[in-house]
Amino acid sequence: MTSTSPFARTRRALVATAATAAFAVILSGCSGGNAGGGSSEYSAPEEDLSAKITYGLWDQNQVPAIEENIEAFNEIYPNIEVNVNVTPYGEYWTKLQTQASSDTLPDVFWMNGPNIGLYGSNGQLEPITGAVDAGDLDLANYPEALVDLYNVDDVQYGVPKDFDTIAIWANRALFEQAGVALPEGDWTWEEFQSTASAISDALGGQGIYGAAGGMDGQTTYYNTIFQAGGAVIDDGTSAYDTPEAQAGIQFWTDLIASGASPTIQQLTDTTGDQWFTSGKAAMYWGGSWFRSALTDTELAADVTVLPLPEGEQKASVIHGVSNVVSAASKNKQAAQAFQVFLASEEAQQMQGDAGAIIPAFDGTQGAFTESLPDANLQVFLDALEYSQPLPVSSNSAAWNAFETELLPQAFSGERPVDEVTAELAEQMNAALAEE
């Protein structure tokens, strides 16, 4: 009877997933838990190696470029069949957890910063050290901050596939309408604040704001914390209770309090990118990936990119996806060959030409900036120089949940910043201690 209820279905699915994972573990004799080793067997396979491998990823938009990659890969290894397996991002990590628990991970798959610690430190991934030692991979070709991101306990697990940095997407038409000049070159926190306020003052009557913040650390408060000279995690403990981190949080509290940005409630209902794309916000702190949201929109002609304002120093958060090989892969040699190929200049150039992402291989990024010639996308590439990696730990999701819960209370002015950050640091440290 209850199976007719849609509410029942989800819970059952969840319980069933957890239980299936449990069952699989028993079958496989508690295989999890072997710690990742430092060495890795690797040799480039013979060209006639015959194998079937799967490639797990979450972005359907990138599939065309990936199919091109596979075609080129098959010119070298005609007998390795690669099956692309796309899972939407919302379910990707839940599914991956289940697959990892039952030793059925895809042979090659996408990995991100918040999750690398979990998979790397639990022996789920094959280190790439073998391919590096053999000279088939040269990590100097990729941004250093990204290479470091995929290094867990001094073992390298991932080869960067692409990267993203953060800058400000600006609507030139709204600047003109408000009679406010576009900033040129570098600018400071104060200049950003006054520019945003000036636009809000001029166009507030039409419901237009100067800037839209958000509650996503990667695009907003991590950047300001770094700009203030602070950190989110320092030596395995939370740095939220430092004056620098507090200054980085205060930046957003002040911006919202001045009316230059919609409130946290408004931003929950309508996210920052939506305020921007609907022409209701002149500036939006966003990642380079936002480029694909502008494809074929009227807005695209008015958009330009500004560097993030400078606090004590310049900073922009860098993050990128990497390709990893499952430690349990039955066709490891083929999987590693594919991983190495995806990291090659040739494959990266194809990805870049498709325009959806910034490829990680040095010198293949030109196509991205040309994909919106008037928008000055170069800012995202320039940010590499002063970029800092996305703060992560072995179980980032646990403390990310505390950020989502507590920081809005500071942004909204409901509680003082120092009180909220102190509580956040305490909870985060408890979560970090459990890792």
């Binding site: 007719t4 209820s5 989800t10 239980a19 999890g32 209902d269």
Partner: protein, 320 residues
């Protein structure tokens, strides 16, 4: 619990038991043998499915609630540690309270469904079939799709609801980003989308009420409202009881609507979460699956408890 009359599927004309064969003589020995085997053959696959996909996972979950689960399946026995932690966790009481509030609001939909079903059952109502479809549509729509539409309706700045309220001079809140309002907003959607199911069940119950009773009531001079109160509602109580049980169980399992309407990065979510969302957060966000299993067992037990309680109380109000 034979007092629950079959609300769906079986019409009074359907032959019950062996009554259909009355006069055909006693069934032969052979026939009885076949009868003994056939039901098992038909029900067997279903039973197997239930055993593998329901009972086995329940046992598994019960077992894992007693363990400390490592990242990818390595576990150590932890005894009742998870339960001790759970009962000391304020999040449990918060999510239990939210779930009860949600259930209470959704239950308000049942009187409404009774009234609407009786209206739809009025003889000579035009477009009755169309109304039935309209009321039932939300129930068959995907919860996520329903949630996305309501998310837009609830939008504080640009939403239809606040626009409508604005026309009559009321300034609506930011429905899904205000702690108290968020859960009520979700419950309104839950009520709305369960209305169709309740009405279908109740409509089937209404068909079982003999028209002679209404004729007699009318002869006695009873008004429509009086007929509704004195004939319809009492005779419908078995169906109402069934709908109540199902609604309570599904309300205790609130997850998808909450998750999809509020959004996973909503700051009020930790204060508005339901029991199953709490389970999801511990199991799939914090990756603490032993603890999550303990929560799942708690939800399982509490649903069993509440259902048993309802069966006990039914004697007081359900007409046999």
């Amino acid at each position: 619990m034979a007092t629950v009359s079959p609300p769906l599927g079986s019409s009074p004309r359907a032959p019950r038991g062996r009554a259909g064969r009355a006069g055909g003589g006693a069934p032969s020995e052979e026939g009885r043998g076949r009868d003994g085997l056939w039901p098992v053959l038909f029900v067997g696959p279903l039973l197997l499915g239930v055993a593998v996909f329901y009972f086995w996972p329940i046992l598994q979950t019960a077992f894992y609630s007693l363990t400390d689960w490592g990242a990818f399946g390595g576990w150590t026995f932890a005894g009742i540690q998870n339960y001790l932690e759970l009962f000391a966790d304020p999040a449990l009481y918060l999510s239990l309270g939210n779930t009860l509030l949600y259930t209470a609001i959704v239950l308000l939909g049942i009187p409404l469904a009774v009234y609407l079903a009786s209206l739809l059952n009025l003889p000579g109502l035009r477009f009755a079939a169309l109304y039935r479809v309209l009321f039932f549509l939300p129930y068959v729509a995907m919860p996520t799709a329903v949630a996305m539409v309501w998310r837009v309706i609830f939008n504080g700045d640009f939403g239809l609801l606040n626009y409508g309220l604005g026309l009559v001079g009321i300034e609506g809140p930011y429905w899904i980003s205000t702690p108290g309002a968020a859960l009520v907003a979700v419950a309104i959607v839950g009520l709305w989308s369960s209305l169709g199911f309740s009405m279908i069940v109740l409509a089937a119950g209404l068909k079982n009420i003999p028209p002679e009773l209404y004729e007699a009531a009318e002869l006695d001079g009873a008004t429509r409202w009086r007929q509704f109160r004195s004939v319809t509602v009492p005779l419908l109580t078995p169906s109402i009881f069934f709908v109540t049980i199902v609604t309570v169980i599904s309300s205790f399992q609130l997850f998808d609507l909450l998750y999809a309407i509020l959004g996973s990065s909503n700051p009020v979510l930790p204060r508005s979460m339901s029991l199953v969302y709490f389970f999801y957060r511990e199991g799939f966000v914090s990756n603490d699956k032993g603890y999550a299993a303990a929560i799942a067992m708690f939800v399982f037990l509490i649903i069993g408890l509440v259902t048993a309680l309802q069966f006990r109380l039914q004697k007081r109000w359900v007409q046999a």
